[in-house]
């Protein structure tokens, strides 16, 4: 029992200690909890700070996002600008290439010409040399002629003296002959005559001869007598004619014949013959005396030759004078040619210099060309990169817009579920806020839809087809019939033509323009919209961006709405640009950007003109 009590006591002591320990422990734990609590309060404070920072960071992000959108717009514009510059540079490079080829061609031509001139120059130099040689030869020939002339004059003088001598001898001989005939010394005198004498009977037979006749024929007297007179001449017929003439007329004077010697020697003679009669006057025969004229003939020949020489001499003097003139002329020409050669030499050097310059220039052009080609290539690369970047940007816009749809839709669904199921549980304030949230979500949905439409316009394939604009307007009118009715609007379509267009895009274009015209109508004024078109040549329009040679389809959409200040005419086509608050006129500011993009897809331009409260007009020009 005591043992038991003791043990109980022990247990109590232990329990007591245990309790004291636990109490202590709880005290410690409470302290720790106090500390932990403070820690939590501190952490809480930190978290609130962090939350505030996050809100600021969030605002910052929103701001950065806006900046990025602006930057994207700027990039799109810069992209277009670069593409345009690229085109310009390509054109310029083509022009330079053509100019280069032209220069190269001209250079080649000039090189050929220089070569030709060089050859011509050498030819001239050669001709010059030749002419100098020729002139020297002529000079020598001239001197030779002068010498010959002198010689001939000397010879002519000698001949003249010889002539006078001969004339003197002749007259002496004539004197002698007449003395012989006139003296009546008969036979002896006859025999001693130097001239061959002969008598011929009526039959032409020789009846007598003298010693000179024997000598000149080489035939003995006895053999001569009784033979035909005409036998002893080179021309017997002429001889016969001569004596027959003497018989007939009684005489013949200076009748030229040539006596033939037995050994072949010929003697030119002149016959003087007359008939002789008996006392009764009967003709007995002909007495013929031959005069050796060999010497006389030579003298005559000499005279002729002399005259000829004198004439030739004269001619030669003239010729020499002419040659002198010609020589001077040649010398002058020579001088001229030397001058010309000198000039050509200078011209040649000039040409060589120009050639060198042109080669240098061609080399420079070649380098410039290569540089241009390189730059061109770089620009093409850059343009290709930009084009890719652009596509990527559009694809990014598309994908991001696309993916934004899903969370937004879920927010909208949750809002509608709450409004449907918890409407009664919400305070008036809560209801209002939820409705505002729904509106904001709706607006975001509109933005995303419009952005998607905008990027779709740029990425889809372009299929052009001839389409009647009337059918497009009809479709748009049908789509907008409720608004048209509500606004008491009239839409007039005047003379709309067919055009080569991407039909579904053009429908969207007309939809956007007409729905804009309806939206921005004046309150209490029925909207009146006029759509018209015409085909017109570029050069009649005076618009820089249009080609003067092309035909354009000019489409006008005009309204009587609120218009806009003229200085906004460019800006209204930019993405997200709005001229009115969304409370006044709903919209995302993408509609006209889509319109512009579609016009650009059609290689056209659009011009907006407006005046505040006086309506607006949109002029579209697309290639017809």
């Amino acid at each position: 029992m005591e043992k038991i009590n003791k043990s109980n006591e022990n247990e109590l002591i232990i329990a007591h200690k245990e309790l004291a320990f636990e109490k202590e422990e709880k005290g410690k734990r409470a302290e720790e909890l106090g500390i932990a609590n403070k820690e939590l309060v501190f952490q809480n404070q930190e978290k609130e700070k962090r939350a505030e920072e996050l809100i600021i960071a969030n605002k910052e992000l929103v701001f950065q996002n806006e900046e990025k959108e602006k930057r994207a717009e700027e990039l799109i514009i810069a992209n277009k600008e670069l593409a345009f510059q690229n085109q310009e540079k390509e054109k310029r490079a083509e022009e330079l290439s053509i100019a280069n080829k032209e220069l190269a061609f001209q250079n080649a031509e000039k090189e050929k010409r220089a070569e030709e001139l060089d050859i011509a120059n050498k030819e001239l130099v050669f001709q010059n040399d030749e002419k100098e040689k020729r002139a020297a030869e002529l000079d020598i020939a001239n001197k030779e002629l002068v010498f010959q002339n002198d010689e001939k004059e000397k010879r002519a003088a000698e001949l003249s003296i010889a002539n006078i001598e001969l004339a003197f001898q002749n007259s002496e001989k004539e004197k002698r002959t007449s003395e012989l005939i006139n003296s009546n010394y008969a036979r002896s005198l006859i025999e001693s005559s130097m001239d061959p004498l002969v008598t011929i009977n009526a039959e032409g037979k020789i009846t007598d001869v003298n010693e000179a006749s024997i000598k000149v024929t080489g035939i003995a007297r006895q053999k001569l007598i009784g033979t035909n007179f005409s036998n002893y001449f080179t021309s017997p017929e002429k001889a016969q004619k001569g004596y027959l003439q003497a018989f007939e007329k009684g005489f013949v004077a200076d009748y030229g014949l040539t006596i033939k010697h037995e050994n072949g020697k010929l003697t030119d003679v002149l016959y003087n013959a007359s008939v002789y009669k008996d006392d009764m006057g009967k003709v007995l025969g002909v007495f013929a005396a031959a005069r050796d004229v060999t010497e006389q003939k030579w003298a005559k020949d000499l005279r002729i030759a002399n005259k000829e020489l004198a004439f030739q001499n004269n001619e030669k003097e003239k010729r020499a004078a002419e040659l002198g003139v010609a020589n001077k002329e040649l010398a002058f020409q020579n001088d001229e040619k030397e001058k010309r050669a000198a000039e050509l030499d200078i011209a040649n050097k000039e040409l060589v210099f120009q050639n060198d310059e042109k080669e240098k220039r061609a080399a420079e052009l070649d380098i410039a060309n290569k540089e241009l080609a390189f730059q061109n290539e770089e620009k093409e690369k850059r343009a290709a990169e930009l084009s890719i970047a652009n596509k990527e940007l559009l694809a990014f816009t598309y994908i991001s817009s696309h993916d934004l749809q899903e969370p937004l839709r879920k927010i909208q669904t949750f809002v509608t579920i709450i409004l449907e199921n918890e409407f009664e549980n919400l305070s008036e304030n809560g209801k209002y806020n939820f409705q505002r949230m729904q509106l904001a979500a709706g607006r975001m949905q509109q933005l995303i839809d419009d952005l998607l439409a905008f990027s779709r316009i740029s990425t889809t394939e372009l299929n052009f087809e001839k389409t009647n604009l009337n059918s497009i307007i009809d479709e748009v009118k049908n789509e907008l019939r409720d608004t048209i009715h509500e606004k008491h609007a009239t839409i007039e379509a005047i003379e709309l033509c067919s055009a080569n267009i991407i039909a579904f895009q053009f429908r969207q274009l007309m939809y956007n323009l007409i729905s804009n015209a309806l939206k921005f109508s004046k309150p209490n004024v029925p909207s009146h919209i006029i759509v018209k078109s015409r085909i017109v040549k570029g050069n009649t329009l005076n618009i820089d961006k249009l080609s003067p040679e092309k035909n354009y389809c000019h489409i006008t959409v005009k309204d009587n709405g609120i218009g806009f200040e003229p200085h906004f005419s460019e800006r209204i086509f930019e993405v997200f640009q709005k001229l009115h608050g969304k409370e006044v006129y709903a919209g995302t500011g993408i509609g006209l950007a889509i319109v512009k993009k579609i016009v650009e897809n059609h290689n056209g331009i659009i011009i907006a003109t407006g005046e505040l409260n006086k309506g607006s007009q949109f002029d579209i020009y697309i290639p017809a």
Partner: protein, 147 residues
């Protein structure tokens, strides 16, 4: 007495599955709903249940591992599965995509609406179509279901 309609939904989005079930529960037509969360699981489910296929498949396009497009093609090429009516249930509407789906054999295309009341209406309409009409191919004009 309408028979119990067996519906299969393939959608990776938890919220969309929640909306779908909520809309279906609000209907008077008796339905049984099974759900799969990606394309691979869908194909596995269908292969497993080939002898007893659901009455209709609501198919989301944008799913991980295997997208709705691939699933549709596989179903229509599989002789055991090709009779299963497939209704495409998608957030986005792209004309070319819709055309392609029609040619690939989808029965209807519907765009997930933003408002819950519309969602309920369109699911109701579709389910009624399926239960009444049974399987006959819709024309191109009626392919896209709108509320």
């Amino acid at each position: 007495m309408t028979k119990l309609l067996n519906i299969l939904l393939a959608d990776d989005d938890k919220d969309d599955r929640f909306f779908f079930k909520m809309a279906l529960d609000a209907l008077t037509i008796p339905t049984e709903l099974a759900m799969v969360v990606d394309g691979e699981k869908l194909m596995a489910y269908l292969t497993e249940n080939a002898p007893q296929l659901p009455d209709v498949l609501f198919l989301d396009l944008n799913m991980p591992r295997k997208n709705g497009f691939e699933c549709l093609s596989e179903i229509k090429l599989d002789k055991n599965l090709k009779l299963l009516p497939v209704i495409i249930f998608s957030t986005s509407f792209e004309q070319e995509v819709v055309n392609q789906l029609y040619f690939n054999g989808a029965k209807y295309f519907m765009r997930k609406p933003a408002e819950f009341s519309q969602l309920r209406k369109i699911i109701e309409y579709t389910v009624e179509l399926i239960s009444q009409e049974n399987i006959s191919e819709p024309s191109r004009e009626n392919f896209v279901l709108t509320c």
